[in-house]
């Protein structure tokens, strides 16, 4: 029932925003719906904390603690993103970059987007999961092209084409899994379905050759959506062109939702093939992503793209963590998802503000930001520090634990390579930040009087710091969730 509610709330919100003409309160309402999702997520976590799954719709929707955790992540980031809606929209309407009609569309699409992601994490059937993730592409296309500029159109075109192809491959992979399940030799064909639980049950009997091909196609396909190299290319364009809250939502959760799908399939593949093959696969894509992110960040010119590539980097880290595969590693991966969601959405939202205030997203054109806009610059700076994995922010502890888990399974060389990449990334990002944040005198400081920006972002950073120092409310949940897909 809870899971059904989780889907219903944003869906209804979307419908409302379509039928009711744009008012500022609709924006607030959308934020409320996101808060509702978050609340339900927490409720789900409590309900599923004792290793029991909650099902609805005759088992079509199934929430175990992993899905519940994902719901929480989605809820948190959506809340952050939707809290911006009223201000951003009325601002744009005032400036004439948007019409009230399109504002309503915007809200509706945001809600649709959230609904799709929730469906993806709550679906029991892996086919439905696929459908939902493909649907997110459709829902977000017009969000990406919201500003209707040539660049925005270009970005969304690339986004659709690349993601659809990738996702198509993922579908092929799913079909192969189904095929392998049909001919697993256990259970009558009638009983066989694409339900994750049933697949896990017969996983050990699945045909190896088919499963290898399947998992590889899945990694490549869903990897496109996750933003893993070599099919990461859409990410920078889409994130740099979309409205800031949308980028926040995409980078903060969409990527991790797709990664959630990979986690589910990896569990099956591990059971079917043993850990070696999936591990190798994840290591390859993970390291490749880190490498690509590192070299592309060195001479980066646009700070939104910079953030996008750092998403590629962090997805690579997640892949490596998943490669380790121990329950500790998965717990760290999940913690990293949450921390990355908080941090990256904070950064994207504040970068949107910066872009709006400065009128450019080029690093070279901005100087002495911290002096001129202390609040905005401060938030952005702290966000960067958090992103670079400094304590007390949670990314430090999750990255550390992932590295630890990787070394535990003998992947120290992977850790070594990734540390080299991380150092390069660290130096590049600090270098860029130095140029556009520091310097100047504070006499010309302009205060930022938008509480709806400052409060949520500061709260998000504080939350990330708190989780990094002491995640006692999450610890049991993390372990339970990790236990779902890792032994």
């Amino acid at each position: 029932m809870l899971s059904f509610l989780a889907l219903a709330i944003p869906f209804l919100m979307g419908v409302i925003s379509l039928v009711v003409p744009w008012r500022r309160w609709i924006g607030w309402a959308s934020a409320v719906s996101a808060a509702g999702v978050l609340g339900i997520g927490i409720a789900l976590c409590i309900a599923t904390s004792s290793h029991t799954a909650v099902t609805a719709f005759h088992g079509a929707l199934r929430a175990d603690s992993l899905s519940s955790f994902m719901v929480v992540v989605i809820g948190t980031v959506s809340l952050l993103a939707t809290l911006q809606t009223p201000r951003v929209m009325s601002q744009e309407i005032a400036e004439g970059t948007t019409t009230p009609r399109r504002a309503s569309y915007y809200v509706a699409l945001m809600q649709a987007f959230i609904t799709c992601m929730l469906t993806a994490v709550l679906a029991a059937n892996l086919g439905v999961l696929w459908v939902a993730i493909e649907a997110t592409t459709i829902a977000t296309t017009f969000l990406v092209s919201h500003y209707r500029t040539k660049k925005a159109i270009e970005a969304s075109w690339k986004y659709v084409i690349l993601c659809s192809v990738g996702i198509a491959l993922a579908f092929l992979g799913t079909v192969l899994v189904y095929f392998a399940a049909l001919h697993s030799g256990v259970g009558t064909p009638g009983t066989v379905s694409l339900n994750w639980t049933s697949l896990m049950a017969i996983a050990p009997h699945l045909n190896h050759g088919v499963m290898r091909l399947a998992i590889t196609l899945l990694v490549l396909g869903y990897g496109t959506k996750v933003g893993l190299a070599p099919t990461h290319s859409w990410l920078a364009d889409a994130h740099s062109q979309a409205p800031a809250p949308v980028s926040a939502l995409m980078s903060g959760v969409l990527l991790t939702v797709a990664f959630y799908a990979l986690l589910r399939f990896k569990a099956i593949a591990d059971a079917a093939l043993g850990p070696a093959f999936p591990r190798a696969l994840f290591i390859v894509v993970g390291l490749l992503s880190l490498l690509v992110a590192a070299v592309l960040l060195i001479a980066q010119r646009d700070y939104k793209r910079l953030l996008a590539y750092s998403s590629v980097e962090h997805m690579g880290l997640l892949a490596l963590g998943a490669a380790a595969g121990s329950s500790l590693a998965i717990a760290a991966v999940l913690l990293h998802m949450l921390g990355h969601g908080l941090t990256k959405s904070t950064l994207f939202i504040s970068s949107g503000e910066i872009a709006h205030a400065e009128g450019t997203t080029e690093i070279a054109k901005i100087k002495t930001l911290l002096a001129r806009r202390p609040v905005l610059g401060g938030i952005f700076g702290c966000g960067l520090l958090a992103l670079l994995g400094f304590p007390p922010f949670s990314l430090f502890i999750s990255e550390f634990t992932m590295a630890r888990a990787e070394v535990d399974v003998g992947l120290w060389w992977v850790v070594a390579i990734s540390l080299v990449c991380l150092s390069v990334i660290f130096i590049s990002i600090t270098n860029h930040a130095r140029h556009f944040l520091l310097g100047g005198d504070s006499s010309v400081a302009v205060p930022l009087n938008a509480r709806s920006v400052v409060v949520p972002l500061v709260a998000a950073l504080a939350a990330s710091a708190f989780i990094g120092v002491s995640a006692w409310p999450l610890l049991t949940l993390l372990r339970a969730a990790a236990h779902v897909v890792a032994r």
């Binding site: 690349l162 290898r212 490549l220 070599p230 002096a371 634990t401 630890r404 540390l419 270098n431 520091l438």
Partner: protein, 664 residues
């Protein structure tokens, strides 16, 4: 442990205070709370040092997925005590020093965060705890360097360099420690119990990795590049904390991992350590001699002294590895005592430079002069630090270097030739640096404080606030006490190294009125020497002043010319010029002389300008090329994302084909 946690609590409280309290009362309250915290931790640490019993604390709620582990054993306690002491002095100093940016909420809270992380690092007893606070230390210090970033671009560059180096160092430490914690369990206890099961190659690999990281924190050449940039740019209290406490953490790390966790290890590990030490000592000493900027000079002398410490640690490790535990202990005690006294005198010196800067507004020796008459008290305190660093007998520097030398000297017993060669090299390095350090600080005192003022600012300097003097004074105490009565701390050091080395031998140093080596021939009684010196000077002075009028004040000898002006004096550059010329091949100074001849004749010169800069050769030859190379790669890599959707699709297509072919 309760006291220790209470002290840390005070630091946290101070952070809160820094953020909430209004400007006028902020500094005093924050420093007060912080000092109380430091006093508490100091008491806790000294209790452990005296009793020799380790205390620990664990909580799984803090630091998710691992939990925090703190253990205050004598080795850690030594560094905690040291840090707290310096912390108190620095905070007191801050009361008078803090102005402008340093009084801001962020700066003060960061200062306390930095102090707290410095206090926790030596007490951390699990990999995650260590790394967490290590990184916190790095972050807070990096931001503290940037406190005055709005004024100078150099500050930002320095912070960037520091950040980069510390990141690389932390990365290699992390990997090394993780390698050690593979066989289950990441607390130091687990590592100690499992380390024997690890393969020797793995252990060596881990040691080298951690060594790189810790050595870069200890400013060992060639990982030192950040140090001469960061120290000058940071506010003086911060540079004092960094140079005396943070840099020492590198030494702590090496001792902790090498001696404690890995329990000694093999010979060649320590040969590397000694090699690092020797290079750093010589390099640092030479650059200290030629530097003109006071803080830069102090930074290089930090590299020098820490190099000596590394020589001591390395030789001790080597001696232990080749079966001479007693001399090993002796050398290690010498090294640790040197660390402690370095913390005292270098802290004092950095605070002193802060005072000079406050009084004259300049850090460059060529703008100073005659300060002894303008700011006598600060001068006196600074001179105490300087005498201590040039190892004048009855000052802490001498005692520690004497112990170190004795350790090396009595190490020349074994037959293992690598050890002997190492000891020889170490001793030679010590001998070489001794004289150079003396030159550097004679230059500082003679040019900076004596003679005539070289600038109006120096001529009109005013004595700094009382609290600043007290801060320096606190640090002068150990400079003298450790020098005159080292017997006070030697027993504590004995305990500290018992936890260090796995094999526990009886105390290598007996302490009475002075120090005497056990079972070895060697002793000094600094107190008696001092007494003798005082008596003799008193006698001479007395005899000299019998029926004698006080000396008459006259003009200095004109040498046949006009009254000597300030510009006729030797400058810092010219003072060091002979040595710079002697060591030109190492220092690679960039000298440009510019002569414009008179129009009438080629033999007459209109004007002549001479400029000589001594840059960091290692940075120029090793780091800059690497940076350029990476940048080139980055520029080339842009072609990956050239905007063509077809190219992006091609990536996927090729990947797909490869997968299909590979799996077929």
């Amino acid at each position: 442990m309760v006291l220790f946690m209470a002290g840390l609590g005070c630091c946290v409280l101070g952070v809160v205070a820094a953020t909430v309290i209004s400007l006028e009362r902020r500094v005093i309250v924050v420093t007060l709370v912080g000092s109380v915290g430091c006093l508490l931790t100091f008491t806790a640490a000294s209790q452990v040092l005296v009793s020799g019993r380790a205390e620990s604390f664990h909580s799984s709620l803090v630091l998710p997925l691992a939990g925090i582990n703190l253990t205050l054993d004598p080795l850690g306690a030594l560094f905690v005590a040291m840090t707290s002491f310096v912390g108190v002095a620095t905070l007191v100093y801050c009361v008078g020093y803090a102005r402008g940016e340093l009084r801001s909420r962020s700066a003060l809270s960061l200062l306390l965060v930095f102090l707290m992380s410095l206090l926790v690092v030596p007490a951390a007893s699990s990999v995650v705890t260590l790394m967490f606070f290590w990184e916190l230390m790095a972050l807070s210090s990096m931001l503290l360097i940037m406190v005055e970033q709005r004024r100078r671009v150099e500050t930002r560059v320095a912070a960037q360099w520091y950040g980069a180096m510390t990141q690389l160092g932390a990365a290699s430490i992390l990997l090394g420690l993780l390698l050690l914690s593979t066989k289950g369990g990441q607390t130091f206890g687990d590592i100690r119990s499992h380390v024997a099961a690890l393969s020797p190659t793995l252990r060596s690999f881990a040691f080298v990795l951690t060594l790189i990281g810790f050595a870069s924190k200890a400013g060992a050449v060639p990982f030192h590049v950040w140090l001469p940039k960061a120290h000058p740019e940071a506010p003086s209290p911060v540079s004092a904390l960094m140079s005396s406490a943070m840099v020492a953490m590198g030494v702590y790390g090496i001792v902790r991992v090498g001696n404690d966790l890995l329990g000694g290890g093999t010979l060649w590990w320590w040969i590397i350590v000694v090699a690092l030490g020797v290079v750093s000592a010589l390099f640092g000493a030479l650059h200290a001699v030629t530097s003109v900027d006071l803080k830069r000079l102090l930074a290089y002398s930090t590299i020098d002294i820490l190099g000596l410490v590394l020589i001591g640690v390395g030789c001790s490790g080597a001696l232990a590895a080749s079966g001479h535990p007693r001399t090993a202990h002796l050398a290690l005690i010498g090294a640790l005592l040197l660390v402690v006294s370095h913390a005292a005198f270098k802290g004092c010196l950095f605070l002193g430079v802060g005072a000079i800067e406050r009084a004259t507004g300049s850090r460059s020796l060529d703008h100073l002069g005659g300060l002894i008459r303008r700011i006598p008290i600060s001068t006196a305190l600074f001179v105490v630090g300087a005498l201590s660093i040039v190892a004048v007998p009855a000052f802490s520097g001498f005692t520690s270097e004497w112990l170190l030398l004795q350790g090396l000297l009595h190490g020349f017993v074994g037959k293992s030739s690598p050890t002997l060669i190492m000891l020889l090299v170490g001793v030679v390095a010590l001998a070489l640096t001794g004289g150079l350090t003396a030159v550097a600080f004679v230059k500082v005192i003679g040019i900076g404080f004596l003679g005539q003022a070289r600038s109006t600012a120096a001529a009109s300097a005013h004595e700094v606030p009382r609290t600043m003097q007290i801060g320096m004074g606190i640090l002068c105490i150990p400079c003298v006490v450790l020098g005159v009565a080292p017997g006070i701390v030697i027993p504590l050091l004995n305990r500290a190294i018992q936890t260090g080395h796995s094999s526990s031998v009886s105390r290598p140093v007996e302490t009475g009125i002075g120090l005497s080596l056990v079972h070895l021939r060697g002793a000094i009684e600094p107190m008696l020497l001092l007494a003798g010196f005082v008596v003799i000077v008193a006698v001479i002075a007395g005899a000299n002043s019998i029926r004698r009028r006080p000396a008459r004040k006259v003009e200095a000898w004109r040498g046949g010319g006009d009254r000597p002006t300030a510009r006729m004096q030797y400058t810092a550059t010219s003072y060091a010029e002979p040595l710079q010329r002697v060591f030109a091949d190492v220092l690679r100074p960039e000298i440009d002389v510019e002569v414009t001849h008179a129009v009438e004749s080629h033999y007459y010169e209109q004007s002549l300008s001479y400029e000589s800069r001594v840059g960091d050769a290692i940075e120029r030859l090793a780091y800059q090329p690497a940076i350029r190379a990476v940048t080139r790669v980055g520029l080339a890599a842009r072609r990956i994302q050239n905007g063509s959707v077809h190219r992006y699709l091609a990536f996927g297509f090729i990947a797909l084909l490869i997968i299909l072919v590979v799996l077929a």
